[in-house]
Amino acid sequence: MIGAVLQQVAALVAQIDPDEPLVRWIWISDNMDEIVGRGLQHLYLTLVAVVVGFVIAFPMAILASRHRWVVRPATWISGVLYTIPAIAFIFLLLPLTGLSLTTVAVPLIAYSLLILFRNTLAGLDAVDRDVKEAALGMGFSSRQLLWRVEVPLALPVIIAGLRIATVSAIGLVTVAALLGRGGFGQFILEGVDRFFPTPLVVGVVLSVAFAIVADLLLVGLQRLVTPWAKMAGTRTVAT
């Protein structure tokens, strides 16, 4: 397996003109518009994957924390979706949704679903029983308990899930280049096809930079919304 990949990489490198520089800066300035456009597409697809995934996963997790019997089927379904390889998923959807955005968005959402469901549920489950009991004993209604106690206390773990889902979505979006909707992945594909290193390097560097920036932003968000977690030494649970 690894041997085959290395052979391919060697073949690719052999076909590149040895005088070709790794990055042609003129290409970057000539293609600025496209880089920005691809970047927006990448951002858009990532947001769709994480936001839609969260909108589905969050109520699922709340339901599961209230009614334990939901846990099994919900974990099973999201688990099965997670095991389908991205490329296979896209080709399975092609006859149904064609070359549309949906064909790309559905697998991305499906992957974030499992991560977000599991983390949200783990976060809700990790809320101290004593805190919940005291809250009920003081007269919180069950809705107040959820929104004022359980969700805020689960936030560090929920945000940890969002970080993982976001970073993996950013990586997966590049695969959608196969359908011409891959954001920065498009440049990677283009570079490989044309034995031209510049777009390949641009695609890789920008994808990675995007993932790092998104992760840092989420860390910042967590610090901002859970000032108490630092002192409490709250454990974050990652799936």
């Binding site: 809250a135 009920l136 003081m138 002192m231």
Partner: protein, 366 residues
């Protein structure tokens, strides 16, 4: 009318043959502190939680201020009852100030009123105002526990329920918290029901103790002194454990029992009179008292060469007890003193008399 009345209360959990609590009846009067104690499985926590409906009784009637709790909305009911648990259950994501204002906020008090109440509680519980803007994780166990009790009293509920309130802190802190609790309760006169597995805590804090046996069977419900003096049966006798006599002594104040006058001389007395007083008293000393004020003690050796008592320098008593001390403290003073007797005086050193080992053991036997 009893503040809280449990009438033939029963709790059965589905799928279990024996009820957790069966036919339990208890009347708790306004302003009294009642401890529920018993071995694990006796249903003491279940009983407590049935009062605020965290657990629903499956039989019987539970009246709070004359109304059936099952007829009331549980959320609204709980807002009117203070609730304290062992590990405090403070909300980690809320500051101490916000934690203390929890129930007032739920009740919709305006911010000024809630803030004012937090200030009051801070004072009552002798909390450092600097702690108010911290998070619970930044406080010590003892501080958190005090905040837990303060929070339960925030909306000034007439009734407070406490589930092992001081069990999670170390013994020294626990003793301090218990003393503070007694002080505050003396002022606020709440109706308090608390669960503990610690008989000594029950004796120290409660007006009456309900001793429960496995399955929520009430074995005895009486003031601590009575339970120690006359345990209703072998179960109670065994449960309150060894040192029943000593525990009772802790409940009786020195001022509650008649004192002996003891050997006393005035400084103007002659050495001869002083020697006679020592002889008559049966001890090896005599107290020197002038106009009711205790100057100290002298013995035979100190009288050598003296004509009157005023020629001597009476030595101060290392330990004396006051009328407000317990007989247990008096006993400690007796066994640690050289003379084998406790001298009773006020803090202003007004001589009251003496307490002997014989007198105390008479108290234990009675």
């Amino acid at each position: 009318m009893a503040m809280i009345s449990l009438q033939q209360i029963e709790k059965r959990y589905p799928g279990t043959s024996a009820p957790a609590v069966r036919a339990l009846s208890l009347d708790i009067e306004e302003g009294e502190t009642v401890a529920l104690v018993g071995p694990s499985g006796c249903g003491k926590t279940t009983t407590l939680k049935m009062i605020n409906r965290l657990i629903e009784p499956t039989g019987g009637v539970l009246l709070l201020q004359g109304t059936d709790v099952l007829q009331r909305d549980p959320v609204e009911l709980r807002r009117g009852i203070g609730y304290v648990i062992q590990h405090t259950g403070l909300m980690p994501h809320r500051t101490i100030r916000q934690n203390m204002a929890t129930v007032p906020t739920l009740l919709g008090w305006d911010d000024t009123r809630a803030a004012q109440r937090v200030e009051e509680l801070t004072e009552i519980f002798d909390l450092d105002p600097e702690l108010l803007d911290r998070y619970p994780a930044e406080l010590s166990g003892g501080q958190r526990q005090r905040v837990g009790v303060a929070r339960a009293l925030a909306a000034d509920p007439p009734v407070m329920l406490m589930d092992e309130p001081f069990a999670a802190v170390d013994p020294i802190v626990r003793a301090r918290l218990q003393d503070q609790f007694l002080d505050i309760q003396e002022r606020l006169k709440k109706t308090i029901v608390f669960v503990t597995h610690d008989v000594d805590e029950a004796i120290k804090l409660s007006d009456r103790i309900a001793i429960l046996n496995v399955g929520g069977v009430l074995e005895q419900f009486a003031p601590a002194e009575e339970i120690l003096r006359e345990p209703a049966n072998d179960f109670v006798r065994e449960f309150v454990g060894a040192e029943r006599g000593l525990k009772r002594l802790a409940l009786i104040k020195v001022g509650d029992i008649p004192l002996e006058a003891g050997p006393v001389v005035a400084p103007s007395a002659t050495a001869e009179e002083a020697r006679a007083a020592i002889e008559a008293g049966g001890f090896d000393f005599v107290s020197v008292v002038i106009d009711g004020e205790l100057l100290g003690w002298i013995d035979r050796d100190m009288l050598d060469g003296a004509t009157t008592v005023s020629d001597t320098t009476p030595r101060p008593f290392n330990a004396y007890v006051t009328a407000r001390d317990s007989l247990r403290q008096a006993l400690d003073a007796i066994v640690t003193s050289r003379s084998g007797v406790a001298v009773v005086a006020t803090h202003g050193q007004h001589y009251k008399g003496i307490l002997t080992l014989e007198r105390i053991s008479k108290e234990i036997i009675s």
